[in-house]
């Protein structure tokens, strides 16, 4: 799509684009190229000499059990958050989509957690589940479970999953609700004239029509967990206990900072970038398909 009418000024468009392009090149492209370049280098501990080593950082990375462990942790984390937040958001959206009293008020009261920073969400949940003083932790301990997310890796994972899910439900709810409201009422009316029950109407008509939204949300949620989980993990567990909550993005940060292994950290960055590019590409293919509907 192009405009028929336009201006013919020669230099003005470049001046208008300059701020955006300058920031993009200085803070996006240059560091990205640097990250790729750095991933081929090994620097000694004092930063005095560097050596170009081709793919050694990558082969070293892929031979480390810790890397696969971080990958596994990321998979468990994203699968749990995606599943929990999508299913509960869908349930809430289906309920809020009905013509009931106060639908607008419900919507407002369900979307506000979107505005809470991941790190703050993490602090709220940490406080409830803090083994010695948390209100919920007290309840769990009363049931005879030795609840301690500071020492037990599984408990720590449950804590970060709950905090991440809590924050993400609002976003998914909003998109599911928009998806539900865009389904033509005539389709559902036709089905109910044909005698389809309420449950059947949901699974055979509403749910399939909602699947593009669900697929889009699936990708967005995976990206959210991959990237935004940083604040949640750093504020609650710091990757611990014993690396039980160390995700890929958190490992990039830790290895570069505490480990001082910039080459290895850069190699991990490059792998993450490739994953993100792939996910974004998948998302755009979906958008193209949606346009043809």
């Amino acid at each position: 799509m192009e405009k028929r009418a336009f201006f013919k000024e020669k230099w003005l468009p470049y001046a208008l684009l300059l701020p955006q392009l300058a920031i993009t090149i200085v803070f996006f492209y240059f560091p990205t190229v640097q990250a790729v370049y750095q991933s081929f280098l090994i620097e000694d501990a004092f930063g005095t000499s560097t050596e170009f080593v081709w793919f050694e950082n990558y082969t070293h990375l892929l031979s480390q059990p810790e890397y696969y462990r971080a990958m596994g942790t990321t998979l468990v984390f994203s699968a749990a958050v995606t599943l929990l937040s999508l299913s509960s958001a869908l349930l809430l959206a289906v309920m809020a989509d009905r013509q009931i009293r106060g639908a607008g008020v419900y919507k407002t009261m369900l979307i506000w957690p979107y505005a809470v920073a991941p790190a703050i969400a993490a602090v709220l949940w940490l406080f409830m589940f803090q083994p010695s003083l948390g209100v919920v932790a007290r309840g769990i301990r009363a049931l005879g479970i030795d609840w301690n997310p500071l020492l037990n890796g599984t408990h720590a994972m449950i804590l970060v999953v709950l905090a991440a899910t809590w924050k993400q439900i609002a976003y998914n709810f909003l998109f599911f609700l928009a998806g539900l409201q865009s389904i033509p009422k005539s389709v559902i009316e036709a089905a109910s004239i044909d005698g389809a029950s309420r449950t059947r109407r949901f699974w055979t008509i509403v749910f399939p029509l909602l699947s593009p939204t669900a697929f889009f949300l699936l990708v967005v949620n995976i990206v959210y967990v991959l990237i935004d989980s940083f604040g949640i993990i750093d504020a609650t567990t710091g990757g611990g206990p014993a690396k039980a909550t160390e995700t890929l993005v958190y490992k990039v940060y830790l290895d570069g900072k505490l480990g001082g292994d910039l080459g290895g950290s850069a190699a991990q960055s490059v792998i993450l970038m490739i994953v993100l590019v792939a996910l974004t590409a998948v998302q755009f293919r979906y958008i193209e398909r949606r346009v043809h509907y």
Partner: protein, 282 residues
Amino acid sequence: MIDRRSGPDWLAHSVLWTGIFILAFPVYLTFVASTHEPTIISNGQMPLTPGGHFFETYYRTIFIGASSTTRTPVGTMLTNSLIMAMVIAVGKIAISIISAYAVVYFRFPFRKTAFWTIFLTLMLPVEVRIYPTYNVVATLGLLDTYAGTTIPLIASATATLLFRQFFMTIPDELLEASKIDGAGPIRFFKDTVLPLSITNIAALFVITFIYGWNQYLWPLLITTRADMQTIVIGIKKMIVTSDALTEWQIVMATAMLAMAPPVAVVVLMQRWFVKGLVETEK
């Protein structure tokens, strides 16, 4: 009227109330904790109803800060967060609207290249290129400055795309009419394009304000001085691993203060928030 419900109304109401309760409960507890004495909290004996130390705690939090850890008053952190969120929101909108204007309303060599250069940054969040970006900021001498915390986050592919899409829907006749009236590109922008974009600007403002306020990794790397910290990273430093030292009533008051501005923006500007969220994801 065909019945499109899938169960009785009371079921919907109770499911929704359960959802609201689960979402609101952590915040309620946080508020309760911010009104109690620290000893009662660290004993694990905190009641589920608010206590009487509301003014005392919030006064100390805002003007003095947590004494046993960082001594920065949370008021300073709030100012930093506000500056960061406002500069990022206004900056993103300003540079995106002019670059979209350039791409849509002008014909010039490398127009497509410029567009794709901006567009591809969608796939490069700061989290995957942490250290090289940090080095650039350090080389430019921007550590511990507002410029360092904001400018690298101001480029926005999504905002540029949104404005571009919107400009495409503005009828060409408007430009033709303005040209007949003798308007140049700057006057056409000021008198026609900008007023038409107000709702889009409002929608983007809500989204980008929240984005800026909630930044975590970036200010964590760029700021070392306590008086440059934002509230979202300041709160983490108040939590001491050995919990005996953590002043939970201050931490919880800080959490309330950190949530209040972005939540207020979402609730008060809900219409634009929903528009912004749905349209930037297209």
